[in-house]
Symmetry: C2
Subunit: 255 residues, 2 copies
Amino acid sequence: MNQRLIFVTNDDSYQSKGFQAAIEVARQFGKVIAVAPDTVQSGKSQAITICDTLRLKTISISDDIEIYSLNGTPVDCVKFAFDYFLKGRKVDMTISGINHGTNSAANLLYSGTMGAAIESAFYGVPSVGLSNVDHSDDADFEACIEYGIRIAKSVIDSDIRPLCLNVNVPILPANQIKGVKVCRQTKGFWVDEVLERTDPYGKSYYWFTGGFQNAEPEAVDTDEWALKSGYVSVVPVQVDLTSYKQMKAVADILE
Amino acid sequence: MNQRLIFVTNDDSYQSKGFQAAIEVARQFGKVIAVAPDTVQSGKSQAITICDTLRLKTISISDDIEIYSLNGTPVDCVKFAFDYFLKGRKVDMTISGINHGTNSAANLLYSGTMGAAIESAFYGVPSVGLSNVDHSDDADFEACIEYGIRIAKSVIDSDIRPLCLNVNVPILPANQIKGVKVCRQTKGFWVDEVLERTDPYGKSYYWFTGGFQNAEPEAVDTDEWALKSGYVSVVPVQVDLTSYKQMKAVADILE
């Protein structure tokens, strides 16, 4: 049997602790080739670089693990890998992450980690987007690695294709996590605050801050509920944004 | 009756021809306040600026139309407007666009125009993302404006909420367009090519190029079909990416 090939990317850059944790998950399954952003790309969603050029840098190469960086978004890294760098080679799975910070609920839409996971699935490569609810730089990734390996094994062994999973791990030691819950994306959205500050030259500049508003805090089948209840949340992801249930009503108003 | 307030943003910057076309649509319905990116933000998807600061610039102010620019993404413009600039004021509708280039099919996922339209709907403000299939800088927006006004009127008069429409207009004179089709997002994805070039200093750099692959060219209920058949395509958009039909199968493999 040929050695499997696992692709790794993320949105916190190749220098993040979570990237090393993703490599640790991926290397259990075969040769690892990673192309990750050279700078932090949090909140980059499915963004692609159209109006600028990209440059690749070799970070380290060993027999089993090759790491490169790209000055682009997470989705750029996937496209660059599958359309150029790994073109014509069979890739068995993508691990994206491990993100510092949750990608549950509406965060999925803003997430560069999940943007890359979705992009991978477009190329027919099953993907696991892994996120640690703890967003600190020195977050503990032990439970994420343990559950990441377990879930990635199920993905690579299964024949469900296309497959893209949004996996979030609560801030708990592995032995206190209750297990895995397959659940749906929680309804809700971010409410931001805009902080105004004054620069040393007297001009205003702004920062976003804010928090997620759960629109259905009572629901017990959502990823937010699973995480709050001590489970690893797993949401299977699809990319058809059509609101089928509104189609007739919209057709009626446009008549 | 109080004057209505219409918010405008886009992804091609406040200097684009399509932005002026969006203003032309919006001003039919009330006072216009626009916050648009100061540079081209094509392909920025739902990206938000987390790790950097934002600055606002006044472009022009008259009684009926106020235009500002922000050094951020389309979604940043929406958040900045609704969480700060227009905070506490009722906004009746968002017009995002008019984009130079189609946002049909999977383009919806990469589109900054549609990122902004989706973000607006999160804030409870109905939104119309308008795109011209013609991506040239000097594209003709006459048909887009005509159909944009017609569709925006239906949206503002309706009580369907939340509501976010992905509207694309084919490259045809208005009198040759056959009408409006409410349809679904076409399945498919982009296949890119990576062009390698050498800089004057002997180092490689890369550009993305490529094209959309329609995975269901025979389907007659998709936005790609509608556009090719001479209709304006209208896809009602929702933001739950859960793959409900895969939930049981995924739960089975994770047991």
